[in-house]
Each structure stands twice: as C-alpha cells, then as structure tokens.
Point group: C3
Chain length 456, copies 3
C-alpha cells in the first residue's frame, strides 16, 4: 500500500474519535458558548504539528545517514582516495537536494501521469504550497523525501569509488535523483503502477531506495570497470583493504542510528495509539534485524575462516540486516525481524566473493548489502501477509506482486543507468586513467591528500 | 525583529485560534452531544503518545552512545588493536539487544520474584503486548531499556581491550546483559528489594548501569590480567598511548550528547508542566556536571604536571562528571551539579594512577570514570534529600540506603562476573596469547588491520 | 524511588488536570460540570511543553555542533597539533557553559539596562525560576542559548589554532562567553538597542553568533600572529595542509546536521500551523543554502584550478552557505536560499586567498565562512522585506539598519577582543614559542600526541 494511503489512514483516526458524536442534535441550555470552546479544542493544530514534526525529526535523523555513508566509504577506500570519497559525499548530497527540488519531487508525486501511471509529468521547481488539508507542512514532506533520495545516491558512490571521475559521477547523481529514483518512487509512494496494479508493498524502501541505488551501482561498476590491479589476468583477486576501519565502524553506527528515522518515520504519523505503537515496534524490529545481520555475518565468517571474523563483514552485516527489514519493519515479530536480518547478513557474506568472481568491483560491498538484501527484504514481505502467491482481493502483498516490483525496478533502473553511464562514458569519460589511479584521486581530482602526514 | 517579539507572536496565535469564539452568547440545546465531544477530547492519545515519543527519541539518543564508546575506545587503544575494538563494539551492541530480548527485559521487570524480591522469574522471549493502561507503547519501553543495557556492556569492553579474546568477551556480554544487569536493575527500577526496603534512589543509573559495568570490568581486568608489557617486573608502568586522540574526542562529545537522552528521558514523562520543567533542569544539570568534570580534571592535571594538561584526562573528566550526576540529575542546583561533576573529575585524575599501582590494567580509564564516579554520584544523592543517615518514614534516600545499594550491587556483580570470567577462562580461555598480542588483535582475531597504510 | 513509581507520578498528573472534575456529581442540565472539564482541557500544558521540547531538542542538536567543530578543526590542523585542538574544543565548550551560567545569560537578557539599552546590568549566577507565564521551561531556554554561545567560541578556536597557548585561549573564551557575546545578543535578542532603534533582524545569528565569533577570531589572528613558517619573508605562502580530511568531512556533515537545530529551533515555537510551517520551510531553506554554498564553491574552484576542486573549499562552502542563510532562513524562497548560499560559497573561495595576502593566518578558514558570510547574510535580509534602504514605520528590516547592526557588532567585538587579547599578551602571553610550535602543541601543551604511531 502506498505512502499516501498510509497518511490518509493516520489522519482519519483522529477525526473519527473526536467528531463521532457530531451528528447528534443539540437541545437546550447555555450551550453555544461551550460548543464554540469545544470546537476550538477539536480544531487544534496537534495532529498537523505532530505529523510535520515526525517528518522533520525523522528527516533530520535520515539526513545524518549522509555522514554515515561518508565515514563508511572514506574508511573503506585506500588512503590515497579518501579525500575524494569524502568530498564526493558532501557533493552528492548537495546535487541530490538541488535536483530533487528542481525536478525530482514533482516526478515522484506528479499531478498527472501517462502510460498507465508508469510516468508522471512533472512541474519543474517544487513549490511548497502550505495546505492544511494534506495534514502536514509541505516543506516537511519535501525534506523527508529528499533525504531518501540522497541515500540512493550514496549507495552508488561507495561501489564505484577509487576510479570514477568526480564531475561525471555528479552528473549521474543528478539524473538519478531528478528522474530515475523519482519515477520508481512514483510507482509506489506516489500511488502509481505498482501500488495500484500489483498491491506491491515496500514500507520504507528496500526496493525503492536501496535496490534502486544498488542497481545503479551495479551498472556503474560494470561500465566503469574494476579498479586498476584489482583482478590479475591470472584470475587472482587482489585485496585492497580499507584505510581506516574505526571510521568505517563509526559510519556503520551512524547508519544504524539513522535507520530508526528511515523506518520509524516512514509510518508517516505518530499522533494516535495505533501509530505510536507502530513506530515503537518498528524501532524494535529495525534494531533486531541489524542484530541478526551482524551476528549471522560474524558467525558465518567465523565458521568459514576458522574462528577469525571480518570486521567489514560485520559492518555490512548490520547494513544488510537493516536493508532487509526496511520493506516491512512493522508486521514481523521481533524474532521474525532477527531472522529476516540474519538472512540478510548471510547474503552479504555469500555475495561479496561472488561479485569478485564476476570481476565486478564493489569497493564497499554496497551491492550485497543494498541490492541483494533489498530484493530479499522485499520478497519476504509476502510472508507477513499470509504467504499469498498472487495479489488477492483484499489488496495484500503477494510473492508475485513483490517480485514484479523487484523486476520492474531492476529493469528500469538498470536500463536507465546504462544509458546514462554510457552517455557519460562516450562524452566526458567516467574512468580515471591508470596513472592517476596509481597516484590516487585525492591528488588528481581533489588537489589535496586525505592524510598527507601518514605516509603509506 | 527580536526573539522576544517572535515568542510573543508564537504565543498569541494559539489563543486567537482557540478562544476566538468565546464572546458568543450561550442560548440553548445539546448537552449530551457536548459531553460526548468532551469525552473524546479527554480520551485523547496525547499523554500516551508523548511518553512513548520520549522513550523512542531518548532511546535513540542513548543508542548513539554506542558509537561514542566505539570512537572513544578505538581512539584509546593502539592502532594494532583498533579494528578489533571497533568490531567488538558493534558486536556487543548486537549481543546486548538479542539477550535483552530473549531474557533480560523479563528479568529486570519480572512477573514474579523470589527471595524477598532479590531475584525475578523471567518469561523467556519478551512479548510486546500493547497495553493502554501502562501509559506508553510497550516496544518503546523495551527499546529504551535495551540501550541502557548496552551501555553497561560497552564499559567492560573498554577496560579489557587489547588482550581479551573476541568470542569469550561476547559470551560474557551475553551473560551480563541477559542476567547480571537485569537482576540489578530489577532491585530498583523493577520496584524490587533496594527500592522497597532501602528507599535507594538512582535516577538514571550511576550504580545500576555505570557501576555495574565498572565492577564487571574490574573483575575482568583482574582475571584477564594486564596487557603484555604494561607493567615491567621492576615496577615501572609503561605508557601505551592511544592511537587516535581526535577520534577519542569525538567519542567523548558523542557520549556527552547521548547523556542528555540518558538522564533527560529517564524522567520517563514529559507531557506536563512539572515533567518538562524537570527534563529541562536535568539537561542543564547534566551539562554542568560534565563542565565541572572537565575543568576540574584539567586544572588538577595542570597543577600536577606543571601547566601541561592531559587530553585523555579531560575526556574522562567529562565522563566522570556525567556519571556522577546520573544518580540524581534533577534535585541539585546548577552550582551543585558543577561541584558534583568536579569531584567526579578529581576522582578520575586520582584513581587512574592508583589502578596502575595495583597493576590493574584499565585501557581506557573506564573504572575510574564509571565505577568510582558511579559510587560517588550514588552516595551524594542523600545530600539532595536532607542528608538523612538512614531511611526515614517519608521514604527519602539516605546515606546508608545508598551505600547498601552500592555494596549490594558491588558484591553481586563482582561475584557473578567472577564466576563467569573464571568459567570462560577455564574452558575456552579469555586472554590472547603473548605473540598474538604483540602482533595485534586486528590481525589475529579480526583478519584485517585498522590502518593498514599508516605504518607504526 | 523506582522508575515505576516515577512513571506512576507522571501519569497521574495529566488525569488530575484533565479529569479533575469527573468526580463531581451530575445534577441538572450538567453544564457546570461540562464547563469545568472544558476549562481543564483548555488549560492543558501542551504549548508550554511543545515550546520547551523545541528548545531542548533543538539545543541538543546544536550542542552536537561542538563535536562538528572539533572534528573539522582537528582534521584541518597538522597532526602534531590535533590532540591540542581536540582537547581545546572540549575545554571551550565547558568554559562557555560555566561562564554563561555565571554571567552570560543575565547579560544577554538583563533586568535593567544603561546607555540607551547598550549595556545590561547582570545578576550573577543564573537562577532558573520556572514561570508558566513565559511559556517555556526556564532551563530549556538557558540550555538553548548556551549552545549558541559555545558556537561563537568554537569559531575563534579554529582560526587561532596551532600557535595559541591553551590557558590564555580559555581565558579569552571566558570573557567572550561571559561578556562580549552576551552584550551583542542583548542588543537584538534581549530586545535592546539594535532591535528597538534600528529594526535590525538576525533570525538565528549570522551577525550575533557567527560574525561575533569571526571578529574575535580575526583580532586574535592579528594579535597572535601567523603560524611559524606560514608566510616566508619573500612573500610566499606555505601551505600547511590538514592532517585528516575525512574527519573534517565528518565535521562538516555534523555542522550541517546541527544547523537544522540552529535555524529551525530559532523559530522558538512549533505548536501552531504557522509555526510548524515556518520550521519546515526553515529546514528546507537551510539545506538549500548549504547546497548552494557547496556547489558554488566547487564550481568556482573547478574553474579557477582547471577542473580540480578543493575538498576544504567544498566543506567551507557548505558552512559559508549555512551562515549566509542564518540571518533570515524563513522569508526567502528555496531558490532564493540557493542563491544566498551560493554567494556565500563564492565569498569563501575569494576571501581565503585574500586573508593570506594580508598575512592573516586563519587555519581552518573560519573568517571567510563565519565573518564574511555572516555580514553578507545579515545585509541581504533587507531584500526579503521590500528592499528598504532605511527603517520604515512598519519596523521592517532595511539595508541601513542591517548595516548598523553589522558595524556596531564589528566595532564593539573588535575593540573588546583587542583589549582582552592584548591584556593576555602583556601578562601571560598568548603565543606558543617557535621551538614548541615546531615540536607541536600536542607534546608541549597537552602531553600526548594525537597519532603517536602514524609517523609523519
């Protein structure tokens, strides 16, 4: 069910409770005065304020995930590329904000659509008409949606690190955040094709945000090619360990922290018993999925590597678990959340070497954590709604419906990304030359080194 | 236009909206209808929502302290152990969440108790039955309590760093968060023995959280023994300086930030004049105690070391001050909070060398900051309630009552920790071998280095 | 007393207030009973609670900016001074808190003033009399104001890094936060001279906070002199690159995050349609100004340096954009916010080399970002209010009125800072000697190194 529907649900509850007795007839006594006072109380701004607050505070917490991605990615690249990676994250957050204002928001929530709701017709430049009817401050919704866009862009940044050119990457980010992501979001949260035709359900964006970022990253990694020296001609995979693991750990914690806003505030309302109970359960489930992801990844790596674990697998296990629960953080039990997250952690550990076998160079492991776990999390949603194979009359999510959403998103994002990456490759180029890669992108693209005094 | 004007404007709007119709005259009709509408308003979800919100937002802020501990500890260990320390913090937060769900919560708030309330009988696997009667969303309380458990576990992690084995440490964490901490918490926050028999008071956990973690850390440090080479046979103490002081500073700030949630949200309600005034005063006092701790530690080290200060003492001074005020952040004046924190800062500076004299190797100074200051903060609570020596009829905290809480907690946590650490030592072992310690735990336990390019 | 008890207490209060009249027996026409119930509802604590909440949560987010400044500055100094820079930030936040409690708050909001409102007469030691009339918890306002003071002090810290002595710097911080900043704040936010005489407008402190910090930093940089070796006698400027760019990026993101609290909570109320709409628009505009600052700085450096950008310029572009919008984050459109921020970004890029030409050594670029952009942002406020040249009868901001505020602040803060810096120079000295500068302040002032194992 789409976001707009859920907003509607939240808003309905208060009036039902408060205005239920309104149809009864008035009779006698000094009552009109009292009636006016009651009406004033009933008409209070409280639900509108609460909803807007939720978007602002939730959005703020999600905004901080940009810092988390920055730390994680800067920590997992080699030191000669860490300043570039840091600046790229600041820059992509800026590009995402600009484009989502210029085009993106109006693509995701278009006034009119064509092709059976597959594509919206945007007004350009978003205008925040305050409207009491929608139940929240317009700018608070813009802000909340914008930080989700930025998340999708951050995912791409990590995968293609250490060899992508700065400006072409930002150009890709502009298209991703102006068009590609908003079109996908419109299918579901805009009440479009997937929502109306397939009862597709993706609560906070396992597919819409994380897989979208993941597909764009995957295509980017293929088009740009692996880092110089990553794969030897003889088939050997050369490890290129991250330069600052404590920074990556901090990034992981920041993302974990931010995810409570990502999933929790996606309830979109918190002013009623039911809504706040839902937000609370989402917090608990979000945490337990991360727990499952970390522990499964650690135990599995411990088993595979004779007791030793791998810190980056633990970190990506957390993220994989979080992505896995994002499509449905409310319905499962806490034990179910642990399991869903644990499968995510296992998928991360198994997919990382698989990508290397395919010579797809994903510097930070974003494709396993965001794309693979995003698919897993989206499909398993059907298990929380009676394991329907196909959509039923009640509009419950089903395995087929979820799969359609996964595939449609995958095909569209992949094709669109391919077009953009290839266009960039054919014109300005997307890959840093071999010599510059050896010297490091900090010197060649950014003009200063990340750690000039810590000689390697 | 000035701020005061804007406040005035803001305050004006509500009355205008709410009471605008007040001058209309009363005439006739409709009391029953009005009554229903009033009842609907009175039955509003607002207090329930406010309380749950406080747990969720407060818990979220406390959750971020896990990142603070991670930064502080990773910054204060040597670089060869920093990846291990980082991963250990991610892992312990996961284990704490899992065990507090499986057992811990139901131990802390048990349905039935034995032995005069000393031990609860848990149901296993916590179930979040939403119940309007308790006044908050059940999952929001679980989340809030869980992040406190994780704090206790983080304390242990810092003390035993650089020589503890990963899996045995996590096993200890599991017992600590499933049984040891919850039993202590039940005595007070569960309404158990200390609360009912001794009028013991520990607002946010100077004893229940911080000393509990501190005792477990102390016993761990003794059983595991000091790091290889820390204490020379000739009695010399060999400094092993932390590898990343700016990271430790960031960790300190994150903990300071998180402490506002730790203490402020422990008011447990914020929907009334009295409650929000209390939360506000707790914020102010929490800050002033940290201020007192930092400045006292800096001035004292400045005096002791001829003008030079010591950054890690300043950081631990902040934490010592914060722990000191945690048992009673509401009752003292702001000046009192400065003094309580300042004594905490002094205790940190004096206790750190004392531990070295006893050859107890506390890598990050957690025992001074959390255990010693936790005891100090707990006992001085009695000063805010009339300096009673023994519990009185009014149920005020007293010096004896507070001391009983401190001692009972100390004895129980120490004995329980001793049993667990010894059992682990006797079976799987708890200490990394000398050669592996020399090589660094990053290579031997984690399989990657924290800073592979920054050769030491 | 236990937590459960406190929950009970908290829950009791609301019913007492709301349902107090319930026990009265219904008699006739029931109107009196209904009236009492309505009055109880109308007298609800909700606006008071909402306002206080905003100060506490907003203040907490701004408090975290102290961590942001710490990371940014520690990342931009050389490694031999990074522990000093880290500790100095912890210490200055402590000094600011202490002095704003002892003197500052009562200077900013004085009971009585002299010299036409130019100077207030403070009571010493702030007392938090809770007063329902003011509409918020007194301690929540103190906390919110205090974190703004600390921001001003953090700005100075960055500029004079790597050669200022620790204790004299803290002495300057004490005077800045006890007297200089509070006097400036009183002129506007205290309802004093600039507010009443010039209709000066500075929403969240482009001038009052950021320029104040900037002027104090500028005078400090001049009096203390540049770092040893920064400017060769032959006029060459020797770059001294920051030692940890990813840390500086994290600091930038934390500041960006904190700025939503800085500007958003400066609306000072959020309980009505208009207020929450305002807060939401402020969030959007704050973000867009940072976006404009980053992109303008990156594009301009790209153009100036042949395609290469400069990471620190991007970071300072974000901060410059944020400072620029701080004086008026509500009135401009989002497009206007982008432009205002973009001009800020351009000013940063142009002013940094200018300072070097003047041999004013500003280590982190705080003067361009906070002082220059603070002036720009303050003056352009008039454009949002009809481009008045001089104050009009309606009390709208005007170019002349804004300029008077900028100049008055500049003259007062510069003169006051000059007196304090010179007094410190003449007595205890403010500059670290050449040999100690070469060795690094970590060893000579702090007693430990920031990164002892990462040899330079």
């Amino acid at each position: 069910m789409g976001r707009l529907n859920r907003i509607g649900r939240g808003l309905m509850l208060a009036p039902v409770a408060a205005f239920g007795a309104l149809s009864a007839m008035a009779q006698d006594a000094g009552v009109e005065d009292l009636e006016a006072r009651i009406a004033a109380l009933e008409g209070g701004a409280s639900a509108y304020v609460d909803n807007s607050y939720l978007f602002l505070i939730g959005g703020l917490i999600v905004m901080f995930m940009a810092a988390g991605f920055c730390c994680l990615e800067a920590g997992l690249v080699r030191s000669k590329n860490a300043a570039m990676q840091s600046m790229k994250n600041v820059a992509l957050f800026s590009v995402a904000g600009l484009m989502f204002w210029l085009v993106g928001y109006n693509m995701a929530y278009p006034g009119a659509t064509i092709a059976n709701g597959l594509f919206g017709i945007p007004d350009f430049i978003w205008k925040g008409a305050e409207d009491i009817e929608v139940g929240y401050a317009a700018h608070s919704d813009w802000f909340f949606q914008m930080v989700f866009v930025a998340t999708a862009a951050s995912i791409v940044s990590g995968t293609v690190a250490e060899r992508v050119k700065l400006w072409p990457f930002l150009a890709f980010t502009a298209v991703l955040t102006a068009f590609i992501y908003p079109i996908v979001a419109s299918w579901e949260w805009g009440g479009g094709y997937l929502d109306s035709e397939w009862a597709f359900s993706d609560f906070a964006g396992s597919t819409l945000v994380h897989s979208t970022g993941g597909w764009a990253a995957l295509i980017g990694a293929i088009i740009i090619g692996p880092r110089l020296g990553k794969y030897s001609p003889d088939g050997r995979v050369n490890p290129m360990p991250g330069s600052n693991i404590p920074l990556a750990a901090l990034g992981t914690f920041i993302l974990w922290f931010g995810w409570f806003g990502f999933n929790g505030a996606s309830q979109l309302a918190a002013g009623t018993f039911d809504d706040i109970n839902a937000v609370a359960k989402i917090f608990a489930n979000t945490n337990m999925a991360a727990v499952g992801g970390v522990l499964a990844a650690m135990i599995l790596t411990g088993l595979l590597y004779g007791g030793k674990t791998d810190a980056t697998m633990a970190f990506n296990g957390a993220i994989g678990g979080l992505v896995s629960i994002t499509a449905e953080p409310l319905a499962p039990s806490m034990g179910g959340a642990v399991l869903i997250g644990a499968v995510g952690g296992v998928l991360v550990v198994l997919t990382v070497p698989l990508l290397d076998k395919l010579k797809i160079d994903d510097v930070v492991g974003a494709i396993p954590a965001h794309l693979v776990c995003g698919i897993w999390g989206t499909i398993i949603v059907a298990a929380s709604y009676g394991n329907n194979i196909t959509p039923n009359e009640a509009g419950d999510p089903s395995y087929v419906g979820q799969l359609v959403g996964v595939i449609l998103t995958g095909v569209f994002v992949s094709v669109a990304s391919l077009v953009v990456w290839l266009a960039l490759k054919a014109t300005v180029g997307v890959r840093v030359g071999d010599e510059d890669q050896m010297e490091g992108l900090d010197k060649t693209e950014v003009g200063l080194e990340a750690y000039p005094e810590f000689a390697s």
